[in-house]
Symmetry: C2
Subunit: 257 residues, 2 copies
């Protein structure tokens, strides 16, 4: 048993989709969430910048005495996970491996699409991990640089979002599964499913939540825990978008990293 909280970070509101899944799977675990809204978006930053920012985020969370760290950001997972895992002793988990494990377990998934930020796609993290761990898998990638800014703007179900999704997915062949390789993208899950009715849309946060439930020592809390949400810049659309996502108002604290 370990009553310390779970720490998690993202470049903005996107990681809240992961937060939501962890909360659903383990309501009694206390979560400390850090949204680095000051440095949003990570998607088009260099690898070194993303490593530096990830280290600052982790240092902040470690000061809050967390027992494990979740990188709830596709770009930071693909660019910085390996580096920070080699530096810190605390267990650090990213959004890629749990989804790979899931796909491994499903024999019918052979043609996989990945949509993500420019940085994530160019890092080839998804492609390399999928191909090295699963035989005979075909991977189709698409950079979607407008989706994360659009989610931060709160445009997740209007006509503009629908057309933008269409523009990005229109060249995929028939897919068995589509990985939402950026944690913002589950905000668009409904409209993606409408446009790809025969494809399994994979929310990486959901796979991550079931994975860490088996991995960590749970707390002895008997009630739903009160979480803490920190942002590095509070002048942003976080409140509106988080409300859309979680259906509840959340109290935000200012963090300096």
């Amino acid at each position: 048993m370990d009553n310390r909280p779970i720490g998690m970070f993202d470049s903005g509101v996107g990681g809240l989709t992961v937060y939501k899944e962890i909360k659903k799977a383990m309501p009694n675990e206390k979560i400390i969430y850090l949204g680095d809204t000051k440095n949003f978006p990570y998607g088009s930053k260099s690898k070194q910048s993303i490593i530096d920012l990830s280290k600052k985020n982790i240092d902040f969370l470690l000061k809050q005495n967390v027992k494990t760290i979740v990188i709830a950001c596709g770009t930071a997972t693909s660019q910085a996970l390996e580096e920070v895992q080699s530096i810190y002793k605390v267990p650090i988990i990213g959004i890629i491996q749990p989804t790979i494990e899931y796909i491994k377990s499903k024999e019918n998934i052979k043609n996989v699409g990945v949509i993500a930020t420019r940085g994530t796609i160019r890092s080839k993290s998804w492609e390399v991990n999928l191909k090295s761990q699963i035989e005979d898998i075909n991977v189709y990638n698409k950079e979607c640089p407008l989706l994360a800014p659009m989610a931060e703007e709160g445009w997740v179900d209007n006509e503009i979002a629908k057309l933008t999704i269409h523009e990005y997915i229109k060249e995929f062949p028939k897919l068995d599964a589509l990985i939402l390789g950026c944690t913002h993208y589950p905000l668009f899950k409904k409209i993606i499913e409408e446009q790809m009715p025969n494809t399994e849309i994979i929310n990486t946060g959901e796979k991550l939540a079931s994975h860490i439930k088996n991995m960590i020592e749970l707390s002895t809390n008997k009630e739903k825990a009160q979480d803490e949400i920190y942002l590095t810049d509070t002048e942003c659309n976080f409140i509106n978008v988080s409300y859309k996502l979680l259906n509840e108002k959340i109290e935000l604290k200012k963090a300096t990293i």
Copy 2:
């Protein structure tokens, strides 16, 4: 007479709209353009980050022996112009003042809209400058965080761009003029004009070009000069978008700032 080149910088391709206007006004002047694509977008960065990046860009251009520096970026003009003007001896000009001078000269412009990045709007540079220099002017601001990324993606005349423009301008009252407060936005000028047929759409680059033509010592070149275009990250959509904008292929060089 001064045969040194004109230096200019922007966070990406947006400044090419200014480049185009300067070239039209002074074809024989040699221009050195620096697009800081590695650090794009500036729009959501802190004031201090933008000052630091602007100084690096200026240092790079000064090494190329330029006679004047144009900040072809709305965000850098609003956040860093005053600071860098106080540090460097070379004349530095931003995109705001030439447009203010133009509006001053037009008595019929009383209701002005400004569309720009979040950083530019929140800095209040346009509003403060307009109101302090022109009596009885009404200023209406709108942050448009998706437009610059959309321009970098090359989506400047599709249905998505049209709907996005509509979404951003729909709450303006009747305007005499609309200032395109980010140098990317002239890429959308045609579709904005279609949606606001009775409003003068002001391209700040055009006003800046006529202003510096009167300000600088021109060169003795008798022919159209061969310009140099540098980028801090060449893996981007710059070529596609620049082609759309200038109708010519340009040779790109890599710059380290």
